[in-house]
């Protein structure tokens, strides 16, 4: 580059050279054009596939959408009775008394995956950081292999274990203890009805984001702490009631979430391990040379370096958690009794609903169509969460950008 510019500067102004560039001086060669064409074809395959799948699902879901309308956000699902006169609505005929409300399943999907990720991310990152510090180098390869093996355990095995071993354990031991402890503090927020908690939560979130964006300097740090505390309190106010009350099943939402977390941990941990290994030694040495401990170095250098990568991995794990079918089907099943009263109650997710219902409704076209609509919701949730995560990553990476291509 520099060389080229020098040469250009050095040339004395004169008549323009004839436009007769040799083959190797042209910008594109035939080889390059071919490469570009091939890349374009292969590059567009994923997009085309996604559009195709979306189109098929939308087309198939249309009858159910016409039949139900906004009823999708109802709290009750029933395939209806085939032996009675069909119900007709908006020109679409469905089994007698068919109702397609997916709200419990949507919430089930979101809640189980959120709890799973909320546990899996700190566990994986903390575990990996501890590991890379405390386990000798030669043993770390073994741990990595173990993680990869764990990531490869079929989900049906997790499902079986969850429903036969882990579920009963939760029912007997963990859930009663939890509900006892959390339910034992009703005095914490007796004045806070659930609705108010959610409103407060929203306000706090807005304040949190607003403060982060507008206040700078030392004030900002203090304000940030304050908003974190407010956020925590409102979150707790909104969430705590769900952790109290009766425990009546081995396969509750909490059990399912924990098994999901277990399934996601190896995925996130394996990637986090790679991320940690690729943090530049020089960056860490800068901290060590100042007499900072390994722990301080992990906090000050390693964590910021891996944070965007961990977020991206968490998104992958989130996708897996949302789509996980067979284990969820085994554990929480598909009980259509509305929104679970608490986290220990059985419920359903969109994927467990589809898996559990399809076989019985294959004869009823509109029911199948409704399941496609459920699948569409699933797809939309995963696409939206993916996009949201990407936005977060871009924001994070925007300010505390990693030193890519900078430096001396």
């Amino acid at each position: 580059m520099i060389l080229l510019r020098r040469r250009a500067e050095g040339r004395t102004p004169g008549p323009a050279p004839a436009p007769r560039a040799a083959r190797h001086e042209r910008d594109t060669t035939i080889g390059e054009a071919v490469t570009r064409a091939v890349t374009a074809v292969f590059g567009s395959v994923p997009t085309a596939l996604l559009i195709f799948i979306l189109a098929v699902m939308v087309v198939t879901a249309v009858p159910a959408i016409l039949f139900t309308g906004t009823g999708f956000f109802g709290t009750y699902f029933s395939p209806g009775n085939y032996y009675l006169a069909p119900t007709v609505h908006n020109g679409i005929s469905a089994s007698h008394g068919a109702v397609f409300g997916f709200l419990p399943e949507m919430l089930g999907t979101l809640v189980t995956s959120a709890i799973a990720l909320g546990l899996a991310v700190p566990i994986s990152v903390g575990g990996v950081l501890t590991l890379t510090e405390w386990v000798p180098r030669w043993a770390q390869g073994g741990v990595g292999l173990l993680l990869e093996l764990l990531a490869g355990v079929p989900s049906v095995v997790f499902g079986l274990w969850g429903v036969l071993t882990f579920g009963p354990f939760m029912l007997r031991t963990v859930s009663p203890a939890l509900t006892g402890i959390i339910g034992g503090f009703p005095w914490l927020f007796p004045w806070l009805p659930q609705g108010a908690a959610w409103v407060l939560l929203g306000a706090a979130l807005i304040a949190f984001i607003g403060i982060r964006a507008s206040v700078h300097g030392r004030l900002r740090r203090r304000a940030r702490w304050l908003s974190v505390i407010v956020l925590f309190i409102t979150l707790w106010g909104a969430v705590a009631p769900w952790f109290t009350g009766e425990v009546n099943t081995a396969g509750g939402v909490l059990t399912a979430s924990l098994v999901l977390a277990l399934m996601v941990v190896p995925i996130i941990a394996a990637t986090t391990r790679e991320l940690v290994r690729h943090v530049p030694v020089l960056a860490k040495e800068g901290s060590l040379a100042l007499g900072m401990t390994k722990h301080e170095t992990a906090r000050v250098v390693t964590l910021p370096y891996i944070s965007t990568g961990v977020l991206a991995t968490a998104l992958l794990g989130w996708g897996r958690a949302i789509g996980e079918t067979i284990a969820m089907f085994f554990i929480i099943g598909n009980i259509f009794t509305g929104i679970p009263v608490n986290i220990y109650h059985s419920g359903a997710t969109l994927s467990s609903l589809i898996a559990g219902t399809l076989d019985g409704v294959l004869q009823a076209k509109t029911d199948v169509s409704a399941l496609f609509a459920a699948g569409l919701f699933l797809l939309v949730i995963s696409l939206l969460s993916n996009l949201g995560g990407r936005l977060i990553i871009r924001r994070v990476a925007g300010d505390r950008a990693l030193p890519v291509g900078r430096g001396v």
Partner: protein
């Protein structure tokens, strides 16, 4: 505690009469990477409160020598160090040495800038906070003082809470220097501190090094012989992992004892 941390290296601050400077002595230092010997028995005594320049061709072991003094080789698997290094009379590799404390006393500036992925202000204050040499209230004064010291304050005072990776390479190096100085070290190991800086800034840093040497033992690696001539009291000339000559700067530049030094000074080697 606070005043000591903030004041002891300040431009106008007084030299504490009680501060015991740490001279650095290296005896028969061998550094091996696996079967490969990088330093073949280096011995030198770096005078306290003086600037010693370490010069030599690329790959001769200058960085390796610096890193043995604050035990940075400890964390590189396959590196072995034998021989002795003392700082202020204390054996660096001795039993019961707290590496954390050693590195607080012996500050190091790396050949390439490596600021923390934290805000500019935090880059300066994190280590002093971790060592407890500054209180929360003293942080902003500490940050300002050391950024001023290296001449970076005016450039960054409006973006102290921003990422350092938006700074230029030279500015990042200055930030790293400020970060090292903020711990008030007794010994400074500088690995080509000015290689990324313009002449004016280089002059400022050279002045700073001279000033610091009033109470700090400075070892500075440089490829710039004119710079070594300007700032060094002593010069250590390394070639292929061995000491060729260690002499007062004047002697080294005007009347070196070794033929290879003569060649190096006149630009025929390296």
């Amino acid at each position: 505690m606070l005043t000591r941390a903030v004041g002891s290296i300040g431009v106008g601050s007084q030299v504490g009469a009680a501060s015991v400077p740490g001279g650095v002595a290296v005896r028969d230092l061998h550094v091996l990477y696996r079967a490969n010997e990088l330093l073949h028995g280096v011995s030198s005594t770096f005078r306290p409160n003086a600037v010693s320049a370490i010069v030599g061709p690329t790959g001769c072991g200058k960085t390796t020598l610096l890193r043995s003094i604050n035990r940075m080789h400890d964390s590189t698997p396959g590196m072995r160090v034998t021989g002795s290094v003392t700082v202020g009379g204390e054996d660096v590799y001795g039993r019961g040495v707290v590496v954390r404390g050693l590195r607080r006393k012996v500050g190091m500036l790396f050949q390439r800038a490596n600021p923390f992925p934290q805000s500019i202000a935090d880059n300066v204050s994190l280590a002093p906070l971790a060592h407890g040499t500054v209180s929360r209230h003293g942080v902003s004064a500490l940050v300002e003082e050391h950024l001023r010291l290296v001449g970076l304050w005016d450039a960054v005072k409006d973006r102290l809470d921003r990422s350092p990776f938006h700074l230029s390479g030279g500015q990042q190096q200055l930030l790293c220097l400020a970060r090292t100085l903020a711990l008030s070290p007794e010994v400074l190991l500088l690995d080509e501190p000015t290689s990324a800086l313009d002449p004016d800034t280089t002059e400022h840093i050279e002045g700073l090094i001279k000033q610091l040497s009033a109470r700090v033992t400075v070892l500075v690696v440089t490829h710039n012989l004119a710079q070594a001539n300007r700032i060094a009291d002593d010069v250590l000339f390394l070639m292929a992992g061995s000491v060729v000559e260690f002499a007062p700067a004047q002697t080294f530049f005007q009347n070196p004892a070794d033929e290879r030094s003569r060649a190096y000074v006149s630009g025929r080697i390296g």
